[in-house]
Amino acid sequence: MALLEIENLVVEFQTTAGMFRAVDGVSLKVDEREVLAIVGESGSGKSVSMLAVMGLLPWTANVTADKMTFNGRDLLRMSDAERRKIVGKDIAMIFQEPIASLNPCYTVGFQIEEVLRFHLGMGRKQRRERAIELLTAVGIPNPAERLNSFPHQMSGGQCQRVMIAMAIACNPKLLIADEPTTALDVTIQKQILDLLMQLQDEHGMGMIMITHNMGVVAETADRVVVQYKGRKMEEADVLTLFENPRSNYTKALLAALPDNATGDRLPTIADYFKDGSDIAGAAVS
């Protein structure tokens, strides 16, 4: 049985110009111990679809789906109270921009321990021990002292490590990483990706990696979903996607990588749709 299964997910937002469809009929599933990457440019609906799974969208959003189950439980017809017991415990998310996602008013220790208190009901001493254990696991030196630091006293890479520690605090079954390395240097990016893959392997988590960086996809994913303008363009295992992409959009994305530059100029997305064909028509189902 798949860990997370989504069929025909549609997310619409109310705007002054009528309903805006951010996610348009996306279906995907993730198995245990599997790493799924969702790739797409900004505005392709990749974050929004995952926020819909977490139930973190504002009330203006209209979420419908034929099916949305986690571990066999229906996420659509679940009450908010029930959902809150799952979100943060069995499904955890690492957000973009670690420095902005942590609360600047509380120490990182407090923020990690809050998760443990809420979901696992641990006592004060136990919580502190587990928090130290978590910070050690994500590779922060002097964890016991670091628990008393505020987010602004740490670097971007360290804040991201704290975010990861919070996400894995309750040993989640599914970890959603939303652009976990976008704001970081390449050397730090490498460390964070290695850490995530190591944790994924140790705990046997399912993982969804949201990114727009094809290099990150190549380094982490088992299977890849390519999204464009809220629609799924292509789904393939990682090797097939890079070796013979089927949809025109994926071909265009890969050709736009500076690594693959041939000659003077880079091919752009527009070059692939010059004949005026509808991009949506390029989707391979």
């Binding site: 390449v186 990016q189 490498k190 290099g215 190549a218 090797l239 736009a256």
Partner: protein, 275 residues
């Protein structure tokens, strides 16, 4: 080939004032960097955040003075701490900043943003300013109807085009690009890189291109300089640096850059199966 930009042993220190309980200290942001860039060429400066590459960009663009060392633009020595900065010199060097969402004034129309440099330089009548701005808009791939719009009406890639147009309004010979594509999507990044290459051919521009993305650097640069904690640890032509990196930090950078070719994916999947 004429040398447009030459830096000799540029040093920049920042002094942190002490207080009642702590002693002041000095931070050496740039520790003696030397290089030359010839006309029509591109020098790429690579390094992680905090290595001094943006400090160097500010010195090259004549925003901040260097603490010591010589900066020569078109063979003329320039020291803005001594008040060498004239309007003519300002015209020679322009900069494009990293974040196109922060570098455009939200309350200024695009047309005004483009014509302000001409107003400051003086001697350009209003109708000519307008014509030149319109021409520049077309050159960077926008159209005349964008003249009266505000920055919030544009996407990230379009804003970066506007920032590039603004930098080119005074026909500079040297353009400093401080991570111009790192805030952009892959597909838009390709468009902006193409635009930069087209403009370089057309105006014979000299670029100093600051980036932390090695795949972009490999694509655009003629010469590459790698900075690490304020020092230039590697400097050479693109092919030298990429085929035979000498310094340990450069090697670390290459290892850390994600590879997107099928061979390395296959290798990774094989490792994963074994583990």
């Amino acid at each position: 080939m004429s040398v447009v930009l030459e830096a000799r042993n540029i040093v920049r220190d920042y002094h942190m004032p002490g207080s009642l309980f702590s002693k002041g200290r000095t931070i050496h942001a740039v520790k003696g960097v030397s290089f030359t860039v010839e006309k029509g060429r591109t020098l790429a400066i690579v390094g992680e955040s905090g290595c001094g590459k943006s400090t160097l960009a500010r010195i090259l663009t004549l925003i901040d003075p260097a603490t010591s060392g010589d900066l020569l633009i078109r063979g003329r020595k320039v020291d803005i701490a001594k008040g060498d900065l004239t309007k003519d010199l300002r015209r020679e060097v322009q900069i494009v900043f990293q974040n196109p969402y922060g570098s455009l004034n939200p309350r200024q129309k695009i047309g005004d943003a483009l014509t302000v440099p001409l107003v400051i330089q003086g001697n350009v009548p209003a109708d000519e300013r307008r014509d030149r701005a319109m021409a520049m808009l077309k050159k960077v791939g926008l159209s005349e109807e964008h003249y009266n719009r505000y920055p919030h009406m544009f996407s990230g890639g379009q804003r970066q085009r506007i920032a590039i147009a603004r930098a080119l309004m005074l026909n500079p010979s040297l353009l400093v690009l401080d991570e111009p594509v790192s805030a952009l999507d892959l597909s838009v990044q390709a468009q902006v890189l193409n635009l930069l290459a087209d403009l370089q051919d057309e105006f014979n521009l000299t670029y100093v291109f600051i980036s932390h993305d090695l795949s972009v650097v490999r694509y655009i640069a003629d010469e590459v300089m790698v900075m690490y904690f304020g020092e230039a640890v590697e400097y050479g032509t693109r092919d030298e640096v990429f085929s035979d990196p000498k310094h340990d930090y450069t090697k670390t950078l290459f290892v850390a850059t994600p590879r997107a070719d099928p061979a390395s994916i296959r290798a990774r999947l094989a490792r994963r199966k074994v583990a």
